[in-house]
């Protein structure tokens, strides 16, 4: 009998891993909060949090406390949830579409969001009453429904869904380019470009409240579908023969990932690479079984994104790089190492 089959031992291992993961995320967030033009020691950040929770009453520098609370902590936590959500969505897309190149934006969500954003910013749709985020969110869901319609709802196979996503992305990207080139001035075009590449600048506690709720609920809901996702390993028909409700699972999982991705994109722009590569990295380490893979993706995505955010603020002095640039610049070498090492190992 293999040890991991023992239920109680499995629970203990799970508990230990969960605590270790949360501690790792907390540590990375703490370090991230400390890094910047005004360095703050980890102990100060820790005390500021425990003070706020009412557990301690340590005397702290007011400026430190303000920087921690009003800027850096919310930013780091939003980054963590965005990374978790993108990696989770990517893993689900790759499994559901049975395609290693699938990622959260494969259903046209990022392209739709960009069209929605430029429609608000450049065309002025909504006359100022609609925020860029709301426009992006609406655009993302418009693209998602377009893809759902084009791929024949739930009955179309994975390839059809991917083709529909490609078509939708092309169309919405073209619409964005059309609006930018015909109506935008140089400054607006630059703003849109920056927004598309992603930024955690300007995210505060309201954003944290929204993204943490959406991603947490998304993670829990996806975990309920972990076994169903396993059953998809040999395709839709095999999943159906195993007794999975394929149509329902596809609708629910596509809707969940669309919800998570659209929320993230409309908040911080379309940050690439994380949703594509973190699931592969996680799969190398914990294997393809989803009850382990999905939480691993969430944790790895969270840590990766917080570190990428630190890099975006520190790589070039006095300047914040778009986070999408950093995720690829930092991520590709990192992923190369994993790819290389695990190819040799197996």
């Amino acid at each position: 009998m293999i040890a991991s089959h023992h239920p109680r031992r499995q629970h203990v291992v799970f508990g230990v891993l969960l605590l270790a993961s949360l501690a790792a995320i907390a540590l990375v967030v703490g370090v991230s909060v400390g890094i910047g033009d005004l360095p703050i020691p980890l102990s100060t950040t820790f005390s500021a949090v425990t003070n706020r929770l009412g557990w301690t009453a340590v005397e702290l520098n007011r400026i430190h406390e303000t920087v921690i609370w009003d800027y850096r902590l919310s930013r780091a936590l939003v980054a963590a949830f965005c990374g978790a959500g993108l990696a989770l969505s990517g893993a689900i897309m790759q499994s559901l579409l049975r395609n290693p190149l699938a990622e959260p934006y494969v259903l046209g969500i990022s392209a739709g969001a960009s069209t929605g954003a430029v429609a608000v910013v450049i065309l002025g749709i909504g006359a100022g009453a609609v925020s860029l985020s709301a426009g992006a969110f609406a655009g993302a869901f418009a693209a998602f429904f377009f893809v759902a319609l084009l791929s024949n709802g739930t009955r179309g196979g994975a390839d059809r869904t991917i083709l529909a996503g490609v078509a939708a992305s092309q169309m919405f990207n073209a619409a964005t380019a059309y609006i930018v080139t015909t109506s935008g001035n140089a400054q607006q075009a630059r703003d849109v470009m920056f927004w598309l590449l992603g930024s955690f600048g300007g995210v505060r506690w309201p954003e944290f409240a929204l993204v943490s709720v959406i991603i947490s609920l998304g993670l829990i809901a996806c975990l309920f579908y972990a076994r169903v996702l396993d059953a998809f390993a040999f395709g839709d028909e095999a999943a159906s023969a195993l007794g999975a409700n394929v149509g329902q699972a596809r609708i629910v999982l596509f809707a969940l990932t669309a919800m998570m991705t659209a929320t993230i994109v409309s908040m911080v722009g379309s940050i690439g690479f994380v949703g594509l590569v973190v699931p592969h990295a996680a799969r190398f380490v914990v294997g393809p079984v989803h009850i382990r893979l999905l939480p691993a993706c969430a944790v790895a995505g969270a840590i990766f994104m917080v570190l990428a955010d630190v890099a975006s603020r520190t790589l070039v002095p006095q300047q914040v790089l778009p986070i999408g640039v950093v995720t690829a610049l930092v991520g590709v070498p990192f992923f190369s190492v994993i790819l290389y090492r695990f190819q040799r190992a197996s």
């Binding site: 390993a233 095999a238 023969a241």
Partner: protein, 253 residues
């Protein structure tokens, strides 16, 4: 009768693939499905497994229309081994076999000793116990096929549907698989190309041609020289084997 097929018709577009087929699969017996390429064997098996809905007619499980039974309930009693089912996920053999327990587990139920026993038993019967921790991508075609058989057995089915399961297997494992399936106390329907294997192991045979049944019955009734010429377009001599008393086909050059 566990599985009954009542006058089913199934089309792709305007092309009729299955053209009014009716038969019964005797409980606990092994039913062989023969026919040339494109005669509708795979389509018929998918219809029987409830993966496709017939345009008319119905398939019943213990007299209940399979279309009215939930997918999970069907999967608890009927396992299906597809042709060429593969994955890009690098699962271990034991993970693949564990998929067979999917219909028996609810979202909240943990992995039970019964699940474990079913998986171990299935690995053992399919002869891949020692491969249990091997990764899918490292398996040979035959090992993949046996992993699929083990997954199907782990479903603890009372009906087993197999679509050309002996493809990719060497002769030892072909015979081993036929012996395994014919020895199971369950109803099985198996599409085959090797007529001698069908004659040796199946209790009954059905021969399809262009979506219709052209012959059915015991192997010695079905496998005649006339049928081999008419349906499969081969000259052959059929004798009763001195070793197993079933028909033995010798093809002529």
């Amino acid at each position: 009768m566990s599985i009954e097929v009542h006058d089913i018709v199934w089309k792709i577009g305007k092309k009729t693939i299955i053209d009014g087929i009716s038969f019964e699969a005797p409980k606990g017996k092994m039913l062989g499905l023969l026919g040339p390429n494109g005669s509708g064997k795979t389509s018929l098996l998918r219809l029987i497994a409830g993966l496709k809905r017939p345009h008319s007619g119905k398939v019943t499980l213990d007299a209940q229309d399979i279309g009215t039974i939930g997918r999970r309930s069907v999967a608890r009693r009927m396992a299906f081994v597809e042709q060429h089912a593969t994955t890009n996920a690098n699962l271990r053999v034991v993970d693949v076999v564990k998929l067979g327990r999917f219909p028996h587990r609810s979202i909240f139920s943990g992995w039970t000793p019964a699940d474990e026993e079913a998986v171990e038993d299935a690995l053992d019967r399919a002869g891949i116990l020692e491969k249990r921790n091997d990764r899918w991508q490292s398996l040979s075609g035959g090992e993949k096929q046996r992993a699929h058989i083990a997954r199907a057995l782990a479903q603890s089915p009372s009906e087993l549907i197999l679509d050309e399961p002996t493809n990719h297997l060497d002769i030892q494992h072909q015979i081993g698989l036929m012996r395994l399936v014919s020895g199971l106390p369950i109803t099985s329907i198996i599409a085959l190309h090797d007529l001698n294997h069908a004659a040796m192991f199946c209790d009954r045979l059905i021969v399809l041609q262009k979506g219709r049944i052209v012959a059915c019955g015991a192997p010695h009734e079905v496998l005649t020289e006339h049928l081999l010429k008419e349906v499969f377009s081969v000259e052959a001599r059929v004798e009763s084997s001195a070793y197993h008393a079933r028909p033995h086909i010798q093809y002529l050059r």
